[in-house]
């Protein structure tokens, strides 16, 4: 028996035999958790809330006695809505602070920027925001929705329940809206929608003069067919967009707008009365009444010390992600990334709105899908939901480039396995 072998056996025996007390005694300080969210710049509006959510979860876990007998400690950095800075801060978290896990990123461009850093340093990132898919990394767990968990069900709802036959895909000009709209266009054409009945348009980040676009939407929608707008407009450009919709009296009863990036937080800065009836598709709404959700809302309001703060979908994604990570660490009895990654697939944790979130081999999770209509008080009324949960699909089945691609980190050990050529083309960022 070699020395190395001997040590391994010994440590295994120690894990198996030792009672928790001695382990706690030799605990090497707190477990560090990285929080990589912009606290300044354009995305601060959305991301600051997520930073607070992670801090609240860490706080709660510490009050329960920590994890593996060790306390949790947050390392908060500010990438300042600057995409290259995201990569730098991620490197700092992984190489200097040696964090066990990172919760962070919002926009797809920031995720793409940190991806090589996480893959090179073998870190672990929980990404909490709905995104365009077409990606699966060994080092990322995607707790937000992929297109088949948000965009596709929303369009299905509009076709089946509202009878929409004419479509306007309105988005901000960057990777998430462009990819999502590409998928939706292929999906709609597959459903027999003519090209003349689809209008796609992009505007820059922070676009504020919407009068021309809204007038064009009105004109496109007056052709006698039921028309809907699918909005992937992101960030604060939504406020002037909805204001203009209200001013030009685009009623949800005539031309409903279904948004993928507008939640309770975004509506809290708006007069919602003219917007009643416009839609949003999410995997969580604050208004869904379950005991877990009520407890979460209460905990959040107490933590943030403001009674009028709202909860939203990406917050739930962090709630789920954090709980999954805690369970994986408890199962692996280690915070080592390899061990945690091995433990994660198949783990389950309850959603705030009912049902279980299960980690899939493709590093996405199962989620329920809800369609909500905006109420006069800025909350949403759920008008439709999936019967069970929907498993997240990393690679869209509706795009020719990705329909033969599969992600499976359990058996295939590959994020983009081509089922035709039976080859794995390596990490996704290449």
């Amino acid at each position: 028996m070699t020395v190395k072998h001997f040590c391994l056996t010994l440590s295994l025996a120690a894990v198996a035999l030792a009672p928790p007390m001695p382990l706690r005694a030799q605990a090497p300080g707190p477990i560090k958790i990285g929080v990589l969210h912009s606290l300044s710049g354009t995305m601060a509006i959305s991301e600051t809330t997520l930073k607070d959510t992670v801090l609240m979860m860490i706080d709660e876990q510490n009050r329960k006695g920590g994890l593996l007998g060790r306390k949790l400690e947050a390392v908060v950095v500010d990438p300042a809505s600057d995409w290259p800075l995201f990569a730098e801060k991620a490197r700092q978290l992984l190489e200097k602070d040696k964090v066990a896990v990172v919760f962070g990123a919002w926009t797809s461009v920031s995720r793409k920027s940190v991806l090589p850093v996480f893959e090179k340093n073998n870190g672990l990132l929980f990404y909490p925001v709905q995104y365009e898919g077409e990606e699966s990394s060994k080092n990322v767990i995607y707790t937000g929705a992929s297109p088949n968990q948000q965009a596709i069900p929303a369009v299905d709802y509009l076709i089946k329940e509202v009878g929409v036959t004419r479509w306007i895909l309105e988005g901000t000009d960057y990777v998430y809206p462009r990819t999502t709209n590409r998928i939706l266009e292929a999906y709609l054409k597959g459903k027999g929608v003519a090209a003349a009945d689809i209008s796609i348009n992009y505007t820059p980040f922070g676009h504020s003069d919407w009068q021309t676009r809204v007038a064009a939407i009105k004109r496109f929608g007056s052709a006698g067919k039921k028309t809907a707008v699918v909005s992937t407009i992101n960030g604060d450009a939504n406020v002037p967009f909805y204001k203009e919709l209200g001013n030009q009296k685009v009623s949800a009863e005539d031309i409903p707008v279904v948004a993928f990036s507008v939640g309770e937080e975004e509506l809290s800065g708006l007069d919602t009365k003219p917007l009643v009836g416009h839609l949003a598709a999410w995997n969580y709404f604050q208004s869904i009444s379950t005991p877990t959700n009520a407890a979460f809302i209460k905990q959040w309001k107490a933590y943030i010390k403001k009674a009028d703060r709202t909860t939203n979908d990406p917050m739930e994604a962090h709630y789920i992600g954090f709980n999954l990570w805690v369970k994986a660490v408890e199962k692996a009895r280690s915070v080592d990334v390899e061990a945690v990654l091995a433990a994660l697939p198949g783990l389950e944790t309850p959603n705030l709105t009912g049902g279980m979130a299960r980690v899939l081999p493709n590093h996405h999770i199962t989620k329920p899908v809800y369609i909500g209509e905006i109420r006069a008080d800025g909350q949403f009324d759920v008008v439709w939901k999936t019967t069970g949960t929907v498993p997240g699909d990393a690679w869209s089945d509706f795009l020719p480039v990705s329909k033969n691609t599969e992600a499976d980190w359990v058996t295939l050990k590959c994020g983009n396995y081509n089922t035709k050529t039976k080859a794995c083309s390596g990490q996704s960022y290449k």
């Binding site: 000009d173 505007t203 009068q211 021309t212 006698g224 409903p256 003219p274 008008v383």
Partner: protein
């Protein structure tokens, strides 16, 4: 839904309308069909709710109309502990208690804690259904605008009972606007009828009407089915319909052109408004003030604070915010000039860097005070909505006000510069500082006042922007480039240049946007501007005379 069942329901609706006057009203005892239907609303899905509403209307109960009006307005609730349905007077969840009305007896039924009540939800489809159904009752309203709304709502779903009702109502309608809409509706119904003569008359009546429904109905006559059969068998009718569609289309194109022009002017007036303060500080004084955007931001936050201080008086708070923003941004400007900029006159690069630093500090200041989140500034009722010129042209009120506001600010500024003592001194100092000082003008005081005036105007622009866009720490950044662009394009030091330059940039931008998209359109404008500046470095209206040689 079949015509027969619609007709049946229809009869019941008329019956209800008749009984409204005479129906005896009883208390909520449970058991009557109306109460059963109301109770069903609590748990049902949206389609079942629609059916329940129909059944309740069929009972002809006097409580049906108020109850379903309340349902449409999100004021119909049920109480958790006894499951009784109530109308609330105002649906303000923040009130400590809500006043209840019993929908069966229509008597006040005390009040209840909001947490005790659950709202009965609606969705788009149900609201649409309720609106068209309730519109039929509104036809008998004494208010002509209510009747007009009702007729318009009924036109969305024109079927036989609806047109019958319109025809009946037409005989005693007195208001010409309502009558006009009724005629449109009847002509639309006649289009689908069997009589060829009636169809031709209907087309003749419709060719002047610009509603999209009319155009679509006429265009559908021209369609051909997949087997090559035209939808309209008669060739004369087809010809008349084609001519009518052509005439409607050309009229709509004309109004679309006017609309684009208006959009361009309104975008242009926003540009003028944000640039006009800069035209003073940069144009007249020659100070490159990178913090100009942040002074606008201060104005926008002033609007927010004034609104917080005056809850419930949104309209007054906006009007009050204009002088308040002028004072706050103006005094910030004076402070800036006295403490920093006056030491940097004649050193444009240092001024640029220093004011850029100040802009960052101001941003962080509001972030610390108001948080990084955008603030909601409410829009007064008289500023939202549209001015309906005709069926094809509607101008939004907020944009109309902004155009007028910009012209007002411009005129006042012009008068201040040309007609007042301060204006005279400002012009004198900017043209020849040494000579002005020799004439006894305290040039440093004039500098401070000029900078304060420009900054104050920026604050006023902030008030206007708070009505159009986000009030947040980044408000200024998104407008600073635009405002420099306008001032440089119009000609530095010339107010008229700023006005003409801003308006023409706005119009060009709006004209390009539908063809090139918002991103490319902006790029085109910028490239064209660079080329223009290459040829005419002093802008549209170059300053003339000795001042042009620079100080």
């Amino acid at each position: 839904m079949t015509a027969a069942s619609r007709g049946g329901r229809w009869l019941s609706v008329l019956l209800l309308a008749a009984m409204m006057l005479a129906a005896p009203v009883r208390g909520q005892t449970g058991g009557t069909p109306f109460e059963a239907a109301l109770a069903e609303l609590k748990e049902a899905g949206f389609l079942e709710k629609e059916a329940a509403v129909e059944r309740a209307l069929a009972t002809g109960h006097a409580g049906a109309l108020p109850a379903f009006t309340a349902l449409l307005e999100e004021r119909l609730y049920y109480r958790v502990h006894d499951g009784r349905v109530f109308i609330v007077k105002t649906a303000d969840q923040s009130l400590p208690s809500m006043d209840l009305v019993d929908p069966v007896s229509l008597d006040p039924a005390g009040s209840s804690d909001p947490s005790e009540l659950v709202r009965i939800g609606t969705n788009n489809r149900l609201r649409r259904f309720l609106r068209t159904t309730l519109a039929r009752f509104a036809l008998s309203s004494p208010d002509a605008s209510v009747r007009l709304g009702a007729v318009k709502a009924m036109m969305r779903t024109l079927d036989e009972p609806t047109t019958d009702l319109l025809r009946q109502h037409a005989s005693h309608e007195t208001d010409p606007a309502v009558m006009y809409e009724i005629e449109t509706g009847m002509a639309l119904a006649a289009l689908a009828g069997p009589d060829q003569e009636a169809r031709l008359t209907a087309i003749a009546a419709l060719r002047e009407r610009l509603r999209p429904e009319v155009r679509n109905a006429l265009a559908s006559l021209l369609e051909t089915s997949p087997d090559g059969q035209p939808a309209e068998p008669d060739a004369d009718v087809r010809r008349a319909a084609a001519a009518a569609v052509e005439s409607i289309d050309s009229a709509r194109r004309f109004y679309a052109g006017i609309e684009t022009l208006f959009f361009g002017l309104s975008l242009g007036s926003v540009l003028v408004l944000v640039a006009i303060g800069l035209a003073i500080t940069f144009g007249v004084m020659g100070v490159i003030n990178m913090a100009h955007g942040e002074l606008m931001m201060l104005g926008a936050y002033t609007t927010y604070v004034v609104q917080l201080l005056l809850p419930g008086h949104i309209g007054a708070s906006i009007l009050l915010a204009i002088p308040a923003a002028f004072l706050i941004a103006g005094s910030a400007g004076v402070l800036l000039e006295r403490t920093i900029i006056r030491f940097l006159y004649g050193r444009p690069l240092e001024t640029l860097l220093a004011t850029f630093g100040i802009s960052l500090m101001l941003q962080q200041f509001v972030r610390s005070v108001f948080s990084a989140n955008n603030r909601a500034v409410a829009t007064p009722a008289w500023m939202s909505g549209t001015l309906q010129v005709n069926e094809a042209l509607a101008l939004t009120f907020n944009r109309l006000y902004i155009v007028m506001f910009t012209l007002g600010v411009f005129t006042i500024l012009l008068v201040v510069l040309k007609r007042t003592r301060l204006g005279l001194q400002i012009r004198a100092v900017s043209q020849n500082r040494a000579m002005a000082r020799a004439m006894g003008i305290r040039s440093d005081r004039v500098d401070a006042m000029t900078f304060g005036l420009g900054s104050g105007i920026a604050g006023i622009a902030g008030v206007a922007l708070s009505q159009l866009t986000n009030v947040g720490p980044n408000l200024g950044q998104s407008y600073i480039v635009d405002s420099f662009m306008v001032v440089v394009f119009g000609g530095v030091g010339n107010l008229w240049g700023t006005l003409i330059g801003g308006m023409s940039l706005g119009i060009v931008n709006t004209l390009l946007e539908p063809y090139a998209g918002a991103v490319l359109g902006k790029i085109f404008v910028l490239v064209a501007l660079i080329l223009f500046i290459q040829r005419r470095p002093r802008g549209l209206f170059p300053p003339a005379g000795r001042a042009a040689e620079g100080t």
